[in-house]
Amino acid sequence: MTTDEATKSEGEVQAAALAERGEDITPSKDRGVLKIIKRPGSEDESPMIGDKVYVHYKGKLANGKKFDSSRDRNEPFIFSLGKGQVIKAWDIGVATMKKGEICYLLCKPEYAYGSAGSAPKIPSNATLFFEASNAGELVELLDFKGEDLFEDGGIIRRIKRKGEGYSNPNEGATVEIHLEGFCGGHRFDCKDVKFVVGEGEDHDIPIGIDKALEKMQRGEHCILYLSPRYGFGEAGKPKFGIQGNAELVYEVTLKSFEKAKESWEMDTKEKLEQAAVVKEKGTMYFKEGKYLQAVIQYGKIVSWLEMEYGLSEKESKASESFLLAAFLNLAMCYLKLREYAKAVECCDKALGLDQDNEKGLYRRGEARLLMNEFELAKCDFQKVLEVNPQNKAAKSQISVCQKKTKEHNERDRRIYANMFTKFAERDAKEAASKTGVGKPAEKAACEKGPKAPGAEGEEAEGHV
């Protein structure tokens, strides 16, 4: 008798016992996954879908041959439950386990690797058997914990009922949800609501829910633990009687959603039609002072049309005019949001489409002025005047630029004056080269943020 044969017969015995006495735990009751509990769990709680679970296990084929064991790796195996990361038998089986439980599982090929097998260890149509090793464990559920959605502890999710598929609402998707909000055990909100992801604030829904929705599936019912950052923040929410920096718990059901279409799913005609719609929406938000929301809307136009090729002449005219408007409005939004580098970037793109655009030049001038790039700002305003000599605002901006430049120069002079006295002992040549280096470095420091490659070229033209 070889040991091989010995383990083989042992494996057969256990498999036979499982097949005979095992509990069928498949939802469809097709005996595809059978389970016997060897040692009941220490606690009554089972892991929920999406939980990070820690297990030890040992797997054998029907012939008794071991194909895998977490003990050989000296560490528990970790996975997210119910997400299709592991074979079906496991998503079903481990979900039934309690913390500390040890059990046997018999898995038919349909719930494991099927006819394809898994090269090189699992042959085609193999029944898998997860069973006790000598040490006495087979599938042992060691621990589990809620899913940390953004790996920052800000949103913890525990799924009560799994949704269908892998598709999540994207930004801009329309969702229908039921939600209940709790704070310190007290329920402060309960409603059915339909809204667009990214615009939850309109319905007194904190940003954490918008973020979490982008990771939920249709039909999903989950509990979300929000830190204040993802909740109502420092300000709290007086309407609900919620103080600043409060931890919130939400129970959310995603009833349905309609995704915003991906760019490649739309043809040019559709894109142009939708562009008109979102432009309108963006303008509405802008007027209400909701600049972040406006940015989302205008951003859609850019993502749809910026890279669209093969347009007819008429279409490309329409597309250009949408893009120009989108860039100009984005620039305005970013000015309001004090993101000046982005404003400059948008103006650059707008001017790429229409190099003498008065608004584009003016807004870039404003943004540069606010970034302390007075000379460049002045150039922009001067160009505005070339395009439209009647623009009074530009005229007054030029004088602001000159004033600021003067102030700035004076401050520079004071700083450099100190520097010169410091370097007085050193020879003049070295001092001169120092100031030479100092200035561009300082300028670079002002030009924070990314910049379109085209920008440099245009600036150069501006100087000429």
């Binding site: 000296n74 592991v86 090269a119 598929g165 892998y166 490649w264």
Partner: protein
């Protein structure tokens, strides 16, 4: 002469205290030692070094001899006694010299070598370098990391042997050298593993990080570009051996699984800065892709790999790697990407991949990369393979997934051949749908919307029919199939309700286009024939360059041949078109008669 000079300086130094050695002494020692070596007195020099009385002198000054010593060793032949003496000197120096200085001396030698001597030099110095590093007290982890990085940097410019012959010949010694470097690293790996069992001290983390960096670097070069298939007739394939060792190192240090699956990784304490971590990730993309290839295609390290992951999840995890590899153009890298993709797909059952996976960006990008390979790659076997894999990918999706994928590919491929191929697939799916009851994607209104995309000419009657002939033929075949098939199955496909639109967007412009194209080509042929007589002189109209080489100018005869073959294509299209129209007419008439 040289030996006497050396003896003189040695005698002078023997009476000095260690601290009293002057810079001048060092110089004299180096010059005299170098002269001994150059004049062939290696045996005498060895004697001096082995002399117990000179221990202190050698400890302090010996490292100066490394540079001339290495030069001499390469001068002598393999079986020269003098070479043997030099090697023993090197060995003695490693034992006797101050580790810190000798370490720098050795590293400097490795840094200075280049070209064909790189591998030789590295292999020569690995042993002493290891001896010295094991003796180092301070900054050991840093020094080990520096050595490995320096060695790998020196090797990286060397071409990686690819064919069996090149591997066997190993002209520059790279194969041998790589395996020597692993042996060099082993004691340090063992140290890390041993300490892991005890407790984790900070210093160990550092050494471990250095070794991981070395493994990552090795995966990128030479492994990513190396031929890693088993080769007949080579039992110990050097790169397969190297790969096994590298994976063993990662496995022994407990880093293999965390590298493969991001979700296993806690936040790395070393890269607290998110931006830095992202950069690191980007840098390691090639290495991780190669690692995946080794595990999933070549089954290295599979003994320890968990066998409970679902095939779709493995595909999902590998998609990023596949994308990285397919973006490259080198055969060695590209073929690894195709193999990895294929192996992931072969693990899956047909129709088992849920359409939701198309929500992941990679699942849309990768098939588009495949299309690029099958249309642009100069290597035919790669083009064929990528076409096979595309079909495999399509097969794995559920019905809705196939539907979405077809839509996406029709819109993005910009290649009539590929579009024709997709249209053929659509036809197969429609056929399949007619035998199933619950297929809503290739029947009814979903199908109609897909047909809108298929049965149209991109630029109406002006479409270049020759360029688009593959697509047009496939579309006509599909339409013919629908018209014949739907008589039997009661308008299941819904093609009859949309006939007006098809006529308007497809058949009518196609007829117009055919007439125009035929007229144009016939006129052209007539022109050519007339011109042929008058302009026998070969004034070529245009020249054609293919991959940098200028093609022979086309003779009028060849031009005529091309024009005729174009006409032939138009005839072919026309005949199928006529058949389709005929079928439609018969069917419409039958319906009218019934009414």
């Amino acid at each position: 002469m040289a030996v006497e000079e050396l003896q003189a300086i040695i005698q002078r130094c023997q009476i000095l205290e260690e601290a009293d050695f002057k810079g001048e002494d060092f110089n004299l020692f180096q010059v005299a030692g170098q002269k001994c070596l150059e004049d062939g007195y290696a045996a005498q020099l060895l004697e001096v070094i082995q002399n117990e009385k000179n221990k202190v002198i050698i400890k302090n000054m010996g490292w100066n001899l490394i540079s001339p010593l290495v030069r001499c060793i390469f001068m002598y032949k393999e079986d020269d006694d003098k070479r043997e003496h030099c090697l023993r000197i090197l060995d003695q120096l490693a034992q006797l010299c101050n580790p810190k200085e000798l370490f720098l001396g050795l590293l400097e030698q490795i840094e200075q070598t280049s070209g064909e001597q790189v591998c030789q030099t590295v292999m020569l110095l690995l042993q002493p370098l290891q001896t010295v590093l094991l003796k180092l007290q301070n900054k050991k982890a840093y020094s080990v990391g520096l050595s490995l990085a320096m060695i790998m940097n020196q090797l990286t410019p060397l071409p990686v042997p690819y064919t069996k012959q090149q591997i066997q010949e190993d002209k520059l010694g790279l194969c041998q050298c790589c395996n020597a470097v692993v042996d060099f690293a082993k004691p340090f790996v063992n140290e890390v593993v041993k300490n892991m069992e005890k407790s984790s001290e900070y210093n160990d983390m550092e050494l471990k990080e250095e070794l991981i960096k070395f493994c990552m670097k090795s995966l990128k070069y030479p492994l990513l570009t190396a031929q890693l298939e088993q080769l007949e007739g080579i039992e110990e394939h050097p790169f397969r051996q190297f790969a096994t060792e590298i994976i063993d190192i990662l496995w022994n240090m407990g880093e293999l699984i965390p590298l493969m699956f991001v979700h296993h990784k806690g936040k790395s304490p070393l890269w607290e800065d998110q931006e830095f971590a992202d950069m690191e990730r980007k840098n390691s993309a090639d290495s991780l892709a190669c690692l995946s290839y080794l595990i999933f295609v070549q089954h290295f390290g599979v003994k320890c790999f968990p066998v409970v992951f679902s095939p779709s999840y493995l595909l999902l995890c590998n998609m990023t790697h596949i994308e990285v590899l397919l973006k490259r153009t080198e055969e060695s890298v590209l073929s690894k990407g195709l193999d990895l993709f294929e192996s992931c797909l072969l693990r899956m059952e047909d129709n088992s991949l849920l359409h939701h996976y198309l929500e992941f960006r990679d699942f849309i990008n990768v098939p588009q990369d495949l299309v690029k390979i099958m249309t642009l790659c100069p290597m035919e076997h790669m083009r064929k393979k990528s076409l096979n894999i595309l079909q495999l990918f399509i097969d794995k999706f559920d019905t809705e997934g196939k539907y979405t994928l077809f839509r996406c590919l029709l819109k993005t491929s910009n290649h009539a051949g590929v579009e024709g191929y997709i249209i053929k697939n659509i036809k197969d799916q429609i056929h399949l749908a007619s035998t199933e009851y619950d297929n809503i994607w290739f029947t009814g209104h979903h199908l109609i919307s897909l047909l809108d995309l298929v049965l149209s000419l991109p630029e109406g009657a002006e479409t270049d029919l020759l360029q688009n002939s593959d697509r047009i033929m496939a579309s006509l075949n599909l339409l013919r199939y629908l018209v014949i098939k739907d008589c039997e199955s009661d308008y299941q496909t819904g093609v009859w309700t949309t006939l007006g639109k098809i006529e308007q967007n497809f058949l009518k412009p196609l007829r117009v286009g055919l007439n125009m194209s035929k007229a144009h080509y016939e006129a052209e042929i007539k022109n050519k024939k007339e011109n042929r007589k008058e302009a026998q002189s070969s004034n070529t109209v245009c020249s054609l360059t293919v991959s940098g080489e200028k093609m022979m100018p086309m003779t009028t005869g060849m031009q005529l041949q091309v024009l005729h073959s174009a006409l032939f294509t138009f005839d072919l299209i026309e005949s199928v078109l006529a058949r389709v129209e005929e079928l439609i007419e018969v069917k419409t008439k039958a319906v009218m008669d019934e009414n």
